[in-house]
Symmetry: C2
Subunit: 153 residues, 2 copies
DNA sequence: CGAATTAGTTAGCATAGCTAACTATATTGC
DNA sequence: GCAATATAGTTAGCTATGCTAACTAATTCG
């Protein structure tokens, strides 16, 4: 016998392939909740970074969203006109701006996030306890992978 | 004592929240490989559905991509002009078109997919065997969740 | 102080989403 | 069997989101 337990097709390439597909399909489903926010994907995502990451400059926000400054400039403009964020001038550096979510923006984002998470949670409730445990452990591993990823690029 | 083992914060809401975040971050990283394909995200994704799902009509392809027919019509037009797909008239129904990937399109998609998966696999190679095993089991669970999801909506 | 660098914006282009309106083909009903 | 209806796809025109190039304003450096 080769090995006692499940050496079957769990090499990195195979797991990466299936994990990749799973992530795509998972997000495709939860994303359908977003229309209720009245915001497009780019604006919603930028607002999310601000709510969870705190106030930051336009350049930092653009980098976080993997987008160029002109693109973020327009998104910020739209979010500001919708009163979801506010712009504060930087005391130390007159060129920089500090972008931070308003109470309205924070509330809207949390509501949207709750809808997404609830849609996923509704599916997870159908799982066995042991399966939930496996997914729980998987999230911890993936969070570590993500941290390692950020360091190297 | 309340419970012997890891009842700690692995309720559906909490796991859903972390899984959701993990999926976002995972895709944000692998997506950076896509510029090498020379295609935008919508075209790449539509081509992927055709390569893995086989030839289908425009309406079916639009539904698979959660997009309206006019949007898909333009994407298909661009993919055809790039010779990555070809259009065949349906024998039974003169209104329908059958869209299928060309050899060139299939090759391009697979190359792009390999780059994405390789980027993820490179990170997974740093994990312990037991962790890979956990992720492997997680993908199986998530694939089942996805199948259940498709049925109910 | 002047030159180079840096932060952000503006202009202009391509892609990607939508609805409304259109064309062409199928299906239905009398 | 043909008129009415339904369905598949396209076209037109709008908004949103991505880019590069070029600009303005502020900072930093020699």
């Amino acid at each position: 016998m080769k090995e006692s337990k499940s050496k079957i097709a769990n090499d990195p390439e195979s797991v990466a392939d299936r994990l990749h597909s799973a992530a795509i399909h998972l997000l495709r489903h939860v994303r359908r909740q977003d229309s209720a926010t009245g915001l497009g994907p780019a604006r919603l995502s930028a607002l999310s970074v601000l709510v969870f990451g705190g106030a930051m400059s336009l350049k930092q926000l653009a980098a976080a969203e993997q987008v160029k400054p002109p693109t973020m400039s327009r998104i910020v403009d739209a979010l500001q006109r919708a009163a979801l964020i506010e712009i504060v001038g930087d005391e130390k550096d007159g060129r920089r701006i500090l972008i931070r979510p308003t109470a309205k923006g924070t509330k809207l984002l949390h509501a949207g996030r709750r809808r997404r998470v609830a849609a996923l949670a509704a599916q997870l409730k159908l799982l066995e306890v042991a399966e939930m445990e496996t997914l729980f452990q998987a999230t911890s591993i993936l969070e570590r992978v993500d941290r390692g990823w950020k360091e190297h690029s």
